[in-house]
């Protein structure tokens, strides 16, 4: 057991050796190039072009349409995908996100939240995280820590649809182009508000803009064109997602997360009978899981949720000592835990797997260019923070840009742009580091590591103020 984990740790270290890409070297191999000479066929000139109409890019467009100052800007949103018509279905989508209170506040201010509520969302009021290699567990409950819900589970499609409906419900300053295949960018070399960015489409059209916003996801071509350093590594892990049917019906408002030696398994509530799965595991294992017949997959999942993993005797001794010590001190010892749900079946064909990786762009800005969302930062989904960080970017970007324009500054003024970068990095980077530390701590089953994290978790769980602090950081 021990030698096995040492081996795994070692192998992982090699495989996931840190990659820093300074992008120019890569660009030749990339589909999106850095233009030297943009075509002269200028299709349109805009104040702002948002490249990428995912959840984050669309929300920014919506925020720019709603802000009393930013709505004066001529905005173009370019999305590579088609304009999918959304149809509400009784079945849940397998892609869901957990949204925190800050995201809710942003969406409420954009009148998007009420649209989401009208369609479908599930509040999370209790969260329980427990460790398969020891008895340690930590729980967060909204009633004891916050006045509000811990989080909300919303399908990606629904959120995107709500944002887009709100965005297109009024005549506004935003023009959206779907199926927009961007072939390349030419960015201004230095800070000079008269120099524009060129966005070249594969059909030969060119758009120009003063401010280019890269919301084009983890593999951002805007980021590559900026030539900034990008620190990234693969976890060699994938997130296996599926929609789960529960064995019993109950008020399903608990988010469960169990750490087994291969990684975290999260079960997020959808309604009284259904939950959504994000099972992070090694790539080969994930591929196996996808190939299993559906009933065997359910068995494997229930097994992973309930199985007693071999435990180290010394860890047991210490954690039970800590428990008794906590009990004597009158603090919660973590024994009062809820039992996770049993899974009856999965919705047919709801399984899929997504690669997981870490990514950090050392700069979020360049003259006339800003990165937001996964283009700037990518995290492991274990804490359900990914898109929330992106929505935080949207909130801060609109605030700083709007303030700058209210003070008469150019939309590419370095003052607001550097404020944006430093404010966001000061929030995003520690969050990314925390998630990374958790991930490393938990994908190891070496006795001393298990011991340290178990005791850490037991004590954290006992201390309300500490838990409150964790939650409030996760919520901002």
């Amino acid at each position: 057991m021990l030698s096995n984990s040492v081996k795994r740790l070692f192998v992982r270290q090699i495989k996931s050796s840190i990659r820093t890409t300074s992008v120019r070297s890569l660009s030749a191999a990339d589909d999106v190039t850095i233009l030297t000479k943009p075509s002269e066929n200028i299709k349109g000139d805009y104040d702002v072009i948002i490249a990428g109409g995912g959840m984050v890019g669309c929300t920014l467009a919506c925020a720019m349409a709603k802000d009393s100052i930013l709505s004066n800007l001529k905005v173009l949103l370019l999305e590579g995908g088609p304009d999918k018509e959304y149809k509400w279905k009784p079945e849940y989508s397998n892609r869901v996100v957990a949204l925190n209170q800050n995201t809710k506040a942003l969406m409420t201010s954009l009148d998007v939240w009420k649209r989401v509520e009208k369609m479908r969302l599930q509040p999370v009021r209790y969260m329980q995280v427990w460790d398969a290699s020891s008895d340690a567990m930590i729980s967060f409950s909204s009633s004891e820590l916050l006045d509000d819900d811990v989080a909300y589970i919303v399908e990606n499609d629904i959120l995107l649809h709500a944002v887009n409906t709100e965005l297109t419900s009024t005549d506004n300053n935003v023009k959206i182009v779907y199926d927009a295949k961007i072939a390349g960018y030419q960015l201004p070399k230095q800070d000079n508000s008269t120099v524009k960015s060129y966005v070249q489409m594969s059909n030969g059209d060119t758009y120009t803009c003063q401010l280019l916003i890269g919301a084009d996801g983890a593999n951002s071509a805007v980021r590559r064109a900026m030539g900034v350093q990008y620190l990234s590594w693969n976890y060699d892990q994938m997130g296996v997602v599926a929609t789960l049917n529960l064995a019993e019906e109950y008020t399903n408002t608990t988010a469960w997360q169990r750490w087994i030696p291969t990684g975290p398994i999260a079960i997020l509530p959808l309604d009284s009978k259904r939950s959504s799965l994000v099972w992070s595991t090694w790539q080969d294992h994930a591929k196996q899981l996808l190939k299993l017949p559906e009933d065997q997959f359910v068995d494997a999942l229930n097994d992973a949720l309930w199985k007693q993993y071999p435990r180290s005797g010394s860890v047991e001794t210490v954690t039970s000592f800590v428990s008794s010590w906590l009990r004597r001190a009158g603090l919660p010892d973590g024994a009062a835990r809820q039992l996770p749900p049993s899974i009856r079946s999965i919705s047919p064909n709801s399984r899929a797997a997504f690669p997981l990786a870490f990514g950090h762009s050392t700069r979020y800005i360049a003259p006339g260019v800003v990165l937001i969302g996964d283009a700037a930062h990518r995290v492991h989904p274990l804490a359900g923070q990914g898109v929330n960080l992106g929505f935080g970017d949207v909130a801060d970007l609109t605030k700083f840009l709007s303030n700058a324009m209210y003070s008469g500054l150019d939309i590419t003024h370095t003052d607001w742009m550097s404020k944006y970068e430093s404010t966001r990095q000061r929030h995003n980077v520690p969050t990314q580091v925390m998630i990374e530390m958790l991930h490393r701590l938990y994908t190891v089953d070496l006795m001393p590591v298990v011991l340290a994290r178990s005791v850490g978790v037991q004590i954290t769980n006992a201390l309300q103020p500490l838990k409150k602090m964790i939650l409030s950081h996760a919520a901002t």
Partner: protein, 294 residues
């Protein structure tokens, strides 16, 4: 550097105007530098009726102009100061209930000692109808030239006049919604007349704004000694410690001229980021806002 040289010569010129007209009031506020006895023709002398372009002069001023309007050049501190003084003036004149692009629309503002127009243009961008006056003909020309450069003010260019405030105020009593004198009062002769004339041009209920160095050991060391002798970014003698005015003295002058001081902030420059900030620390520089009572 050249800013200070220019100022100095301008100052010397305008001084003749001011001091020849006004008797010096109380000693504390009066000028302690050798009072000028020069009785040259005042400001009007620099108006040249026969315009013959001097190529060397044109070149000199186009270079100056480039410098004055280079945000990273010699006047960068005035440029970066716009980041705090434009919002300062804006928030003094309008309360932001619904923010829009031109919050100062319909506001008539007089920028006294406008120089090359850095602050005037910043305010014009917010929609204000700005009149900039300066005692330097050359700087007014620079400002006049540059106002055509920024497309954002194409519809709302400031009006520049080569004049002193006491002259200008004669024809504009109770006229402006806002009067701004940023980094000017420390250069003028007869500060009492200066304040009085500014207030004269202001509507009752209008706001008047000043930014200027304080007169303390701090400003003496940093603004004069350190900048002139150590950094040598300012030629020796550009500033005179005696001409600096304290917040109390300026408040006194304003209140004596029927104004009520509403705000006094310290103004500090972060030496690392090069950014200006409002703070509690008033010993180096400060900003004052007052309202004219009816």
């Amino acid at each position: 550097m050249s800013l200070w040289k220019l100022n100095k010569c301008i100052f010397d010129k305008s001084k003749t105007v001011v001091s020849s007209k006004v008797p010096q009031p109380g000693s504390k506020l009066s000028l302690r530098r050798n009072q000028t006895e020069v009785q040259n023709p005042p400001i009007g002398q620099s108006f040249n009726k026969d315009s013959t372009i001097d190529a060397a002069d044109v070149k000199f001023f186009s270079q100056r102009m480039k410098e004055w309007w280079n945000p990273n050049g010699e006047f960068r501190l005035l440029h970066s100061m716009n980041l705090i003084r434009v919002p300062f003036v804006r928030d003094g004149l309008v309360s932001a209930t619904k923010k829009d692009l031109h919050p100062l629309r319909d506001k008539k503002i007089l920028d006294v000692g406008c120089g090359g127009g850095i602050l005037s243009e910043g305010l014009a961008r917010l929609g204000a109808a700005v009149t900039g006056i300066d005692a330097s003909k050359e700087l007014i020309e620079i400002a006049e030239h540059h106002k055509h450069v920024d497309p954002k003010i194409a519809e709302n260019k400031p009006k520049y006049i080569h004049s002193t405030v006491e002259d200008h105020a004669k024809s504009t009593s109770n006229f402006y919604d806002g009067i701004v004198a940023s980094e000017v009062i420390e250069h003028v002769n007869n500060q009492e007349l200066f304040v009085k004339s500014c207030v004269h041009a202001l509507k009752p209920g209008g706001r008047i704004f000043f930014t200027t160095p304080n007169r303390t050991r701090w400003s003496q060391f940093f603004v004069i000694f350190f900048a002139e002798n150590v950094l040598k970014t300012i030629p020796q003698g550009a500033h005179q410690y005696e001409k600096f005015i304290t917040p109390n003295e300026l408040t006194f002058l304003l209140e004596r001229n029927n104004c009520h001081v509403e705000l006094t902030y310290g103004v500090t420059l972060n030496p690392v980021t090069g950014q200006w900030d409002f703070s509690q620390f008033q010993h180096l520089m400060y900003a004052i806002q007052a309202v004219k009572l009816s």
